[in-house]
């Protein structure tokens, strides 16, 4: 059995769920190995070993603070060193770009938006904003596959160990955009939208007040999402946008509040396992895809649901 190289760009512990999902998927195909563009602490390496990782590749020198180019050059060298059967990454903008450039360097085909990868490396991916599913293969080079969050169950941590660690020399990256400033976004304590198991999203019907949506999201341990109408109105930051031009999400539960569910929004959430919709307009398109819908006022229904959840938990 060959190895499967997983690109994990996370310097801190504990390992996020999305990374554990990639490691679980890698283990169904081969022996997991990790390419980390950041130097890892002993503890982090030991933790990775707990998820079955036998080899870790890191850059021999810190990578320059540039967009994508250096990480792609590192990944390409790590692939040359590891000679894996496949390479897995997350599906964020940045991970896809790292995959894209490494693919050109290696002469390897890249498939994005994977929701499943079979042991024979047939990839199931969601296309046309989730309205179609296709099965594809990489025909040239080492397959490079970016995998959507929530596609597989994350790996359970086993006993820590000490994986073999290899340093990779990264060649000069060439012209690149330089990162001048980086500001961490406000930490909300809520899960990251694209990885969340539960999302409560609000739209035009909230009329500027996201309070009921945030309350329910926090009770359910979920993330807060929004329609483009709500982000364009400035009611919530743009990074909360779900849809064609925002994030594509596949949570276990998506609660849509005051969102009509036009195509632009539907494109971002129709692969959710369960969709619950609350909207005062009985003709809202969101009811066509909802598993459970309430025609009613979000400012009455959401607080009542929150109250009921509290009551049942008490």
């Amino acid at each position: 059995m060959g190895s499967v190289l997983v690109f994990i760009d996370v310097p801190s512990l504990p390992l996020p769920r999305a990374s554990r999902e990639l490691l679980a998927l890698a283990a169904t195909i081969g022996t997991p190995a990790v390419a980390s563009p950041q130097p890892l602490s002993e503890d982090a390496a030991a933790e990775l070993a707990g998820y079955g990782v036998q080899r870790i590749f890191e850059p021999s020198q810190p990578l320059p603070e540039v967009l994508v180019a250096a990480k792609a050059a590192f990944l390409a060298e790590a692939v040359r060193a590891a000679a894996p059967d496949a390479v897995l990454l997350g599906n964020s903008f940045e991970d896809r770009e790292v995959a894209a450039r490494a693919g050109v360097k290696l002469g390897s085909g890249v498939i994005t938006d994977a929701v499943a990868v079979a042991p024979d490396l047939a990839v199931t991916k969601s296309v046309l904003a989730g309205s179609y599913t296709s099965t594809c293969r990489v025909e040239t080079g080492v397959p490079i596959i970016t995998v959507k969050a929530n596609s597989v169950e994350p790996a359970e941590r086993g006993a820590a160990g000490s994986p073999e660690r290899g340093l990779v020399t990264v060649p000069e990256t060439g012209p690149a955009a330089v990162v001048m400033e980086r500001s961490e976004k406000r930490v909300s304590g809520r899960p990251e939208l694209s990885e969340a198991r539960v999302i409560v999203a609000g739209g035009r019907g909230l009329d500027g007040d996201f309070g009921p949506v945030e309350e329910l999201a926090d009770l359910l341990g979920g993330a807060v999402g929004a329609s483009r109408a709500a982000t364009d109105a400035g009611w919530i930051e743009h990074s909360a946008q779900v849809g064609q031009t925002g994030k594509t999400v596949s949570p276990q539960l998506y609660i849509s509040a005051g969102i009509s569910g036009a195509i632009q929004q539907k494109a971002g959430m129709q692969t959710a396992k369960v969709i619950v919709a609350v909207n005062k307009d009985a003709d809202a398109p969101v009811f066509e895809i909802a598993d459970f819908g309430v025609v009613g006022d979000v400012f009455k229904v959401l607080p009542q649901a929150a109250e009921e959840i509290r009551k049942r938990r008490a």
């Binding site: 296709s134 539960l253 494109a267």
Partner: protein, 279 residues
């Protein structure tokens, strides 16, 4: 320094003719390709074109020697994407038209477009900027801009939600804001660069009557693969590094339960979540 910073720019905008996302879209045929009969200029490309026009206009536009060229590749109907771009304000157009391009994946597309840019470098003066949208609304992979930067050896400045001209440490170029999931970055790149802009970057203009009339006189160059020095075996379905074996519409979601609030719908909602073991 100011002088070089204000020199005219030679900008290429990549535009794509895609099926309108407002309607249902279908994959068809033995190669599982997209039905392109109801197509328009990709909505996300309008932001790229707007960014290009603003950068050129800040420097005095066409009469000061700036250039904004809308480039597309695809079948004859793709000419519509160039036409619309010219109506909105692009100065000239290029259409890479070759039957061998059909079925190209991101690798083939980026190879062909890099060859077009290099052809323009050789025939129309050095290209400073290649600007694209954040994704095509049909393929949705966002792979092509990064692969283009890799193939051309240009700086990559992608997913810019704000963009402005700037003097960088390495000479005239651009400054942009890029918003990641957990952080926001200010990044700078010197020319030449490949830039992609998000739908937050600007407010695209609409074509007006004057623009529509003027577009008829703007030059459009049609190129073949041979003219840009690309072997047809490297692109299209034959040259693709990935293949599609099967495709199917996602099964329709079953009809759900829809209730009208009688004063207790919040409780009913929680009952439903409990029945699905979601709380």
């Amino acid at each position: 320094m100011q002088e070089s910073a204000n020199r005219p720019l030679n900008i290429v905008v990549l535009v794509k003719h895609v099926p309108d996302t407002q309607f249902d879209r279908q994959l068809a045929g033995p190669d599982h390709t997209l039905d392109r009969s109801e197509s328009i200029l990709s909505e996300l490309d309008e932001y790229a074109l707007e960014a290009a026009l603003q950068l050129a206009e800040e420097r005095g536009g066409e009469k000061r020697g700036n250039s904004v060229t809308a480039v597309t590749m695809g079948p004859s109907a793709a000419a519509n994407a160039v036409k619309k771009s010219l109506q909105i304000g692009a100065y000239k157009g290029v259409h890479l038209l070759d039957d061998a391009l059909a079925g190209s994946d991101a690798a083939g597309t980026s190879l062909a477009l890099a060859a077009v840019v290099n052809h323009l470098n050789a025939t129309a003066g050095p290209v400073d900027l290649v600007i694209t949208g954040m994704a095509s609304t049909d393929g949705e992979t966002s792979l092509v801009p990064a692969q283009l930067a890799e193939r051309l050896g240009y700086a990559q400045l992608t997913f810019a939600s704000e963009l402005e001209a700037a003097n960088t440490a390495s000479g005239p170029g651009l400054r942009a804001r890029r918003d990641g999931d957990s952080y926001s970055e200010i990044v700078e790149a010197p020319f030449p660069a490949v830039v992609s802009v998000t739908d937050q970057a600007n407010e695209p203009r609409y074509p007006n009557f004057r623009g529509i009339m003027a577009a008829k006189k703007k030059p459009v160059t049609v190129l073949s693969l041979q003219e840009i020095g690309v072997d047809s075996a490297q692109v299209g379905k034959a040259g693709a590094w990935t293949s599609v074996a099967a495709s199917a519409p996602r099964p329709a979601r079953g009809q759900g339960t829809i209730i009208t609030d009688d004063g207790n719908a919040g409780v009913a909602l929680v009952d439903y979540l409990a029945s699905q073991k979601l709380i």
